[in-house]
Amino acid sequence: MDQRNNGGEGGGKRGGWSWWYLLFVIQFAVALWPPLYNRVDPTWIGIPFFYWFQMLWVIVSAVSTVVVYLATEH
């Protein structure tokens, strides 16, 4: 699968588009939409939602990035 695609537009096995990248869009949209998480309740071990949700979203994003990596690497 090492053939190079001189056209560049679509069809490239590596470096081209993959539908898996849509996971990144979800990652971005949530992270950049503060009304979603700008609240105090529910708290978790005393930490307001605003803080623990964004930290949790880091973990979700990390997992989704690993999924995209594994799905597009081969």
Binding site: G15, T43, Y69
Partner: protein, 515 residues
């Protein structure tokens, strides 16, 4: 501040000595001919996933981050947490865009963004604009790292007036300059590993031990005033704090990998796989940044800003003294020594990478392009080594003679400037559609507008954009890079029609951007 904390100082000096030795010894690590620029300035592009992780981490999590992010949380509250969505965004960017850049730079032997733009668009003036922006934007970044060292040295109890007061800083920088000169990028790469072990230890200890001392997170957040706890809800006809928060995160993320030192760390990776793997692994750092931001609230809850023994520190360093005071208050002296060494070394790593990146830029894209077009490999590497010294001396002079506040404001301007290279560098990684002169004019428009708006807003960084009676406050970098893009898009067909009819110059082909 009256008496020196000898135990902490002893451990601090010991760790600093160890790090310096490591910096010099690094010259022999993965040995290469340091008389070649790509060996000195990119570590021979030999760093695998592991080392690249620490190098990129060394760029993102610096002494200044360690001091300033909690200081912002302490002073301004929730908005400081924009650092978290910011880091959520950077990794997909790394994954998609910068892997392409790695491939094309690897294939053509490019070592700077200027090299890439010169090859892609065949326009030396556009490359010069990218280069000068990179150098100018990174200078205050080095100076800021020195602020980090200044604060911890002050917190150790060492004070003095005039040149004596700056002595520790000068010594630290002489050592830094010497090992950067002799070892090149291998020095910060090897130190970065130790730095991260120290920083992780400190951060984990702080978020576990201090909340226990303070009686749990519920008590800590109860001490935080309501207006600092979450973002203020926007009023009518305005997106208020929400758009501020989101554009700060987005703009900072877009700017990050355009900085020369980030690109240097990326290009030193041994493969595109290493870049992608890093994008998947680096969020481990992000969690730590979030935890660090929480330290600002620990400061509020512990009330260290009201204790008389730290009053002098807060008076001298302002909110930047919050973290050192908290560490002094919460930990035994020996651990304070480790924590402060972590911050100090956290300054050396990015300062070294940055000065190397600036040296690479000057040598390749100014000296070689405009002064001596056919240097030998040895002349080129020697030039870069000298420039790295000049850059650091400049930063040192800046921090000794210019008020700290200016360094912070210049850093803010640096972000606004560097993001203007986005159309040529990041979009250039995908398309050659843009006309090179249109990109240059777009860059000039964005840079001028960004600087003007920032000055008009008294260097606050955000500007309330008003569209049809609706106010959208946001990061100036985002507004002005949009202007930059609009100008470049509108002028491209126009200039193409006016210009000579020929295929656009491009030294790269589509296949160069892929594995």
């Amino acid at each position: 501040m009256e008496h020196v904390n000898w135990v902490a100082l002893g451990i601090f000096v010991l760790l600093f000595g160890l790090i310096s030795w490591l910096g010099f010894a690094a010259a022999r690590w993965r040995r290469g001919d340091l008389d070649q620029l790509h060996e000195w300035g990119l570590g021979g592009r030999r760093f695998g996933t592991f080392v690249t992780w620490f190098l990129i981490g060394g760029d993102i999590y610096t002494a200044y981050t360690f001091i300033a992010v909690p200081a912002l949380a302490f002073g301004a509250g929730a908005v400081a947490f924009f650092a978290v969505p910011y880091t959520i965004i950077i990794y997909p960017l790394l994954f998609l865009v910068f892997r392409r850049l790695w491939h094309v730079c690897h294939r053509h032997g490019y070592i700077t963004a200027g090299d890439f733009v010169r090859g892609r668009f065949g326009n030396r003036w556009l490359a010069l604009a990218i280069t000068v922006t990179g150098i100018v934007a990174t200078m205050p970044y080095i100076a800021l790292q020195l602020v980090g060292i200044q604060v911890v040295v002050g917190a150790l109890g060492i004070s003095g007036t005039g040149l004596m007061g700056d002595m520790p800083l000068i010594v630290a920088f002489l050592v830094l300059a010497a090992f950067t000169y002799s070892s090149g990028l291998r020095a910060p790469a090897s130190i970065a590993v130790v730095k991260d072990i120290l920083i992780y230890t400190t951060a984990l200890a702080a978020v576990v031990v201090i909340p226990i001392e303070l009686g749990g997170f519920a008590k800590i957040f109860a001490a935080v005033p309501a207006q600092k706890l979450i973002l203020a809800a926007p009023g009518p006809h305005s997106s208020g704090a929400y758009s501020n928060y989101a554009t700060l995160a987005l703009g900072s993320a877009l700017a990050l990998f355009l900085y020369p030192h980030s690109l240097t760390a990326i290009l030193s990776a041994s493969s595109g796989h290493a870049i992608r793997r890093n994008a998947a692994m680096l969020p481990g750092y992000t969690l730590m940044l979030g935890l660090l931001a929480l330290l600002g609230f620990f400061v509020i809850a512990a009330g260290v800003d009201k204790l008389p023994e730290y009053a002098a520190g807060f008076k001298q360093f302002g909110n930047n003294f919050a973290v050192p005071a908290l560490l002094l208050h919460s930990f035994p002296s020996w651990f304070v020594g480790i924590a402060f060494a972590a911050i100090g070394v956290g300054a050396l790593v990015p300062a070294a990478i940055t000065s190397i990146a600036a040296a690479n830029l000057y040598t390749r894209n100014i000296h070689r392009e405009f002064i001596n077009q056919n240097p030998t490999d040895k002349q080129e590497a020697q030039m870069a080594k000298w420039v790295s010294l000049v850059v650091k001396a400049g930063a040192l002079v800046f921090i000794v003679f210019v008020p700290t506040q200016y360094a912070i404001q210049l850093q803010l301007l640096g972000g606004i400037w560097i993001i203007q290279t986005l159309p040529a560098v990041m979009l250039g990684a995908y398309t050659r559609w843009f006309n090179d002169w249109a990109l240059l004019i777009g860059w000039a428009a964005g840079t001028a507008a960004g600087t003007g708006l920032a000055v008009a807003m008294q260097l606050k960084g955000t500007y309330p954009l008003i569209i049809g009676g609706f106010t959208i406050p946001g990061y100036i970098a985002v507004w002005t890079v949009l202007l930059n893009l609009v100008v470049a898009v509108l002028l491209t067909p126009l200039l193409n029609a006016l210009g000579p009819r020929r295929a656009p110059r491009d030294a790269t082909v589509a296949a160069d951007y892929m594995a």
